[in-house]
């Protein structure tokens, strides 16, 4: 049994590729002459603005005396879903609770910001910073001094009064 093919008659305007191709080329040529302004960001000379709630490289805040605010309470390694914080609690010279070892593996971190959220001393923060490079993987394990030496602005916490950050 021969197959019957139903041929639908359509207007030439709808089936011709010529018009569509020309339309596309017109758009390409338009951008070639930069009618609407450039859309490529000239990174790294030029940087896109980032949100005040950007969660990037960690930073440990310090007290007026230049010591880390951390009291080694152990909440951040507990809450950390990626298990990237290593903390060995101990005491400082005055006998106060203080971290002997505080290390964050920036590679392992998933930048969820839970550590900042859970910190009762507002010591550890995620920061508005994302450009890091090292020659070795070990370099991405930040110790306490390195975390204290960071100077970038820190992430702002979400404010329920102002959910969109406006």
């Amino acid at each position: 049994m021969a197959i019957k093919v139903k041929v639908v008659e359509r207007p030439t305007d709808d089936v011709s590729y010529v018009r569509a191709t020309l339309k596309g080329m017109a758009l390409t040529v338009k951008h070639l002459f930069d009618v609407q302004g450039r859309v490529t960001t000239q990174y790294p000379e030029e940087k896109s603005p980032i949100s005040p709630r950007w969660r990037g490289t960690h930073r440990m805040l310090t007290t007026e005396t230049g010591k880390a605010r951390c009291v080694a309470c152990g909440l951040c390694p507990t809450v950390c879903p990626a298990n990237c914080i290593k903390l060995v609690p101990g005491e400082d010279e005055e006998g106060n609770r203080y971290p002997l070892v505080f290390e964050i593996d920036e590679f392992r971190c998933i930048f969820c910001g839970f550590c900042q959220e859970v910190c009762p001393e507002e010591a550890i923060h995620v920061g508005r910073h994302y450009e890091n490079s090292e020659y070795s993987r070990e370099g991405f394990v930040y110790d306490l001094q390195r975390l204290m030496d960071q100077t970038h602005p820190v992430c702002e916490m979400w404010d329920p009064e102002d959910p969109k950050g406006e």
């Binding site: 009291v71 080694a72 309470c73 152990g74 909440l75 507990t78 609690p89 101990g90 005491e91 106060n96 609770r97 009762p120 001393e121």
Partner: protein
């Protein structure tokens, strides 16, 4: 109290039948209902000062403190009714008025009853705006430090020192909101059982100096074990962090240690974290001891032992299982052990509980299995015998006697000096790294379990000795310590009828163990 009358009552809609004289709090426990409490502790006299255990009893004019109210026929008790929840919320709010809420730096955080009950039934915020009172932390002597700001004045520590340790050293000083726990003039917490106040303290007011700032409660792995530091065999929970034992705490056992353990046993755990260990089996070659595979080391040992008389110098820290297997390789030889001794220090408030003079876990078991307790360890070593040194370091022993031995085999977790003469070294796990049983001085066999990983190629001692017996051509198909124990129970009449299942985690006495008087419970209101 033998034929006590049974009282029937209803707690939270569940009917409960308990002997007359039981408190509502204890009766609720039998029904699986925890009534929040601070000052009540089953091992201490009742004080009724914290007011946390208030419950509603139908037809009673006001709320009753359940720790100090005895049950009555037909009572209907509501633990979580609106009225009692409201009362406890008020108590918690008052306890938190002067509490510094410094949980992040408090060692008790995570195992703090104030924290738990506040989360469970407390207010979510404080209405108190005035400055909190402040007192500096105080060193109480011994292993104890006192942080008065966190104290809720439950007086458990005061009652322990007075009624259990019989060494009244603590009191409640000052009045009203200035009240705090103080020491009597010239007194310190130097009683050998004083560190129990740290466990008794429901909050972070009394802390162990040894454990201070070392770990958080929720990071610890807890294992049921036995304190190996004297022959009393107190039941303990061994707590480890990152494969290191960081503290030992008493585990209740009414037949051995009630709720307590001594300071010496508690603080003597560092040897279990020894870093300098024998980690690989070694066999003597031309150029001294060299690392070998387990198979080679075991077969070399079997060759050395076969057909010889074997004299075993064992450590009384080894389990019943290992000591039993050691007796199986003696082949007509003998066994000896020695034990370090110290001062006996009893806890007067609990019958038959003391830090014993003999400071090792399994002295009684070793004697029961035929090892001779002696100062002259090598006295029984015959000319040409094979000397097996198991867990003992021979420190302070005249080494010239070792030369009598035809051969020396070392089975140990650390390398003793005598290893210089050894033809084989078999590394074994230490007490915290293997499973087994020990027998205490009243003949009670108790199980301990593995708390941490053994280093290197180290193997549990019962496994090493079982393999060795197999290599010597004897019947030894042991895959679990319970199988070794079953063999022991079937071949030694004293252990008849015992098994890991029947021992459980509270232990059972040997068949011929001396009968011990039951622990005297502390009289209500004593």
């Amino acid at each position: 109290m033998v034929d006590a009358k049974i009282v029937n009552l209803t707690i939270e809609g569940r009917s409960v039948s308990v002997p007359e004289g039981t408190t509502i709090l204890e009766a609720a426990k039998t029904a699986g209902i925890l009534i929040p409490h601070y000052c009540y502790h089953p091992g201490l006299p009742i004080a009724g000062v914290c007011r946390m255990c208030l419950v509603e009893v139908e037809k009673a004019p006001k709320l009753a403190p359940s720790c100090a109210t005895t049950v009555a026929e037909g009572q209907v008790v509501h633990v979580h009714s609106e009225k009692s929840l409201d009362a406890r919320k008020g108590v918690l709010e008052m306890l938190l008025i002067n509490h510094p809420l410094d949980c992040p730096i408090c060692d008790q955080s995570g195992e703090c009853e104030l924290q738990d009950y506040t989360y469970q039934e407390g207010r979510e915020d404080s209405r108190y705006r005035e400055p909190k009172r402040f007192n500096p932390a105080e060193d109480f002597g011994g292993d104890v430090i006192y942080v008065p700001n966190r104290c809720i004045l439950c007086t458990r520590c005061v009652r322990f020192m007075e009624d259990v340790a019989h060494d009244p050293a603590l009191n409640v000083s000052e009045r009203g909101d200035r009240a705090l726990i103080g020491k009597f003039e010239g007194k310190d917490l130097t009683h050998p059982w004083a560190a129990n106040v740290v466990d008794l303290c429901p909050v972070g007011a009394l802390l162990s100096k040894d454990f201070l700032n070392k770990a958080r409660a929720w990071e610890l792995d807890r294992t049921a074990s036995i304190c190996p530091n004297c022959t009393q065999g107190c039941n303990v929970t061994m707590e480890t962090r990152e494969n290191q034992v960081v503290r030992m705490r008493p585990r209740p056992n009414e037949n051995v240690n009630a709720f307590f353990m001594c300071d010496w046993g508690r603080l003597n755990y560092r040897w279990m974290n020894e870093k300098n260990r024998a980690e690989h089996p070694m066999v003597r070659a031309k150029n001294g001891l060299v690392a070998a595979s387990w198979e080679d080391a075991i077969s070399a040992t079997a060759r050395a032992l076969n057909g010889k008389k074997v004299f075993v110098v064992a450590s009384p820290m080894l389990s019943n299982e290992s000591l039993f297997l050691l007796t199986q390789i003696m082949q007509g030889g003998g066994g000896a052990f020695r034990v370090t001794e110290g001062e006996e220090a009893p806890l007067p408030g609990v019958e038959d509980l003391a830090l014993r003079r003999e400071r090792a876990a399994n002295v009684y078991g070793a004697e029961k299995l035929g090892f001779k307790k002696t100062r002259d360890l090598l006295g029984g070593l015959g000319q040409g015998d094979v000397l097996v040194i198991a867990g003992e370091d021979l420190a302070g022993i005249d080494a010239s006697a070792v030369s009598r031995a035809g051969d020396v085999i070392v089975i140990s977790s650390v390398l003793p000096e005598a290893a210089g003469k050894a033809s084989v070294v078999l590394p074994i796990a230490n007490f915290s790294e293997e499973e087994g049983t020990v027998t205490n001085l009243r003949g009670r066999v108790q199980r301990f379990t593995q708390a941490k990983q053994a280093p290197g190629e180290t193997r549990p001692s019962w496994l090493v000795l079982g393999d060795l017996l197999g290599a010597m051509g004897k019947q030894a198909n042991f895959f679990l310590p319970s199988e070794v124990f079953a063999k022991l129970a079937s071949s030694n009449s004293a252990f008849t009828g015992l098994s890991y299942d029947s021992l459980g985690f509270k232990g059972l006495p040997l068949v011929d163990a001396p009968a011990t008087a039951p622990k005297a419970p502390i009289a209500v209101g004593a």
